[in-house]
Subunit: 198 residues, 4 copies
């Protein structure tokens, strides 16, 4: 597929239609939801025909899948890395720090995933995403800790997740807010670590 001269940054300037489709699609998906975004709409924004989309993607779902796969790679790598580390507090804190960055790098996707859970659940990426969240959870929490401490860890994760979107509506410098969110999350994990097992 896609025969071009190998100049190192191949496929950058040329058949960028595929990329543009993904960009527009993600924008619309995040804004209006997956179901309410029609291929017609995407095509119109790109000023191509619907049929053109089908040249690049077999189905509507495949567009979403491809976006997901491209953008969630950093998160995947983070999980891989986290699993290879010792389950120390320091690891967990570092995981949170890196997760904060991963989230920031793919805000629209995560916003989409969060706001379209019901839809995404029956799509192939639904399971994938859930699996990753569970893996994150298992890196962060300690199965032998008290229920409360486990909740703290999970809460740390959700705090970061939700923080991204809810805090957008508060005044203040975005990077300050991100720092605050991260701080609270790290705090939660740290507290969980110093708790007594149930």
């Amino acid at each position: 597929m896609g025969g071009t001269t190998m100049d190192g940054t191949k496929r950058q300037r040329r058949g960028d239609t595929r990329q543009r489709i993904q960009d527009v699609a993600l924008e619309l998906f995040a804004e209006q939801g997956y179901e309410k975004t029609s291929l017609r709409e995407i095509a119109e924004r790109l000023d191509v025909t619907k049929a053109a989309l089908y040249y690049h993607f077999k189905t509507k779902e495949e567009i979403l899948v491809s976006i997901f796969e491209d953008l969630s790679r950093p998160m995947d790598e983070l999980i891989e890395w986290g699993k290879a580390q010792p389950h120390t507090l320091e690891t967990k804190q570092e995981v949170l720090r890196r997760y904060s960055e991963a989230l920031a790098g793919a805000t629209p996707l995560f916003r989409f995933m969060q706001e379209n859970q019901a839809t995404v659940r029956e799509l192939s990426i639904g399971t994938q995403f859930k699996d990753r969240m569970l893996q994150m959870r298992d890196i962060i929490r300690d199965p032998d800790a008290s229920l409360t401490d486990q909740v703290r860890c999970i809460s740390a994760l959700f705090t970061m997740h939700a923080g991204m979107f809810v805090l957008q509506e508060m005044e203040g410098d975005p990077s300050d807010k991100r720092k605050a969110v991260l701080e609270v999350a790290i705090d939660l994990v740290t507290q969980a670590h110093s708790g007594a097992p149930s």
Copy 2:
């Protein structure tokens, strides 16, 4: 056609159709999402025609609105109560306790609201729900506290929210889990209260 022999099973249900529509609709909305649930599906489950739904509700959206209004009243009352109290730590803790109960009493609705944010956003209830969340936020947080402490308060809210659904997938007694979630939330608010202003 449609013929169900009058064996009492159907006879009993008379006059409660409106309620039954709401019940089935909420179940399906929560399970599959609002967009993916068709009125045909709801009607079929109730063994009535689509047109019957329109006797009781003017539009699909109105079904959802009516469910929302009925089920979110306790939350409304809680907010009313919370706003009338002094903004002390004790009030906040009590609000969280009551919120925990309100959530438990309307789990499917809250699950729906959380998993269908994208859809709900352009529906009339979207704004209402968001408003309520912001009011809860303003009861719980202290606008003069440090950013971090404000995040703690918001995190307390989301912990409870998310807790409801995410923890369903963990082993353990449901009421234990609810208690743990509440504890973490109260903890967060308490910590926020003892922090120094920024």
Copy 3:
């Protein structure tokens, strides 16, 4: 039907629902057209249920039919009278004068008939109305006259018809306008009469 004490003006003050239905229906039919006016709309305006309409009329069409029959009686009588007279110019002029009054007394109905010809054509009253128009034509025109003179007579009729509605949009006193229309119509018939046979 409708047993009440015979006080001479029976059924005037009491079961006037039937009458009210007709009034509202005609108003709406004339305003929006027959197809676009739903029984729901009529019922709502009267603040009764749709089912109530069915107590008074068997079908939607019957409402229209009943209106038509009640309001077009004067026109019927005019035709009867006209047919019994000698076919002189004076008769025709008098017919036009009386027609002018008949039209004025049932403006909304005639407006409706004119603006809903396509719909009315397949309704029972369609044929009736057309028949009456043809009878009017045959009273007014002389089959032995030249084509042109026949057209003059028919034109006289249509002038009066259309005049009712089109002239509403011109400035000037309504009764002056009606007089002008009648004058032109009478003129046309008079001219037709003095013409030479083809």
Copy 4:
């Protein structure tokens, strides 16, 4: 399904679907009225699916609008021409002559417009059509003339309009009838011109 063996009958029709839709639609609209003609019916007659109609036209109304725009252009041009001429009797007579031709060239459309006034009134073309009629009126009549003479001019217009359809039911050669109608119309305008101002 739908299977028509490729025997040429269908093959020929390619690319002209849009036109065929307009043709069939106008035919049905004129015959049964706009409301009573369903897209299903149009599609069935053309042996395509309803969705195919939507490929060519955005809405049912747009089908009608497109027909109207295509077919009423001659009338538009006539108005343009008429407005540019001096307001002499000769101009008016010529306008009527040309109008007669314009009407003949778009009989089904004008029949439709006349028989569906109630429907058309709330459609976008309703206003357009009315505007054109008023412009025609203003070309033909003299605002300083007596009311009666103004009615004569308007009557001339309606005579031509109505003539088209009513006369179809009279015996006689069509072109003879058209000539007679035109003669009466011209007569009316001519009389109006020789009248004394009110």
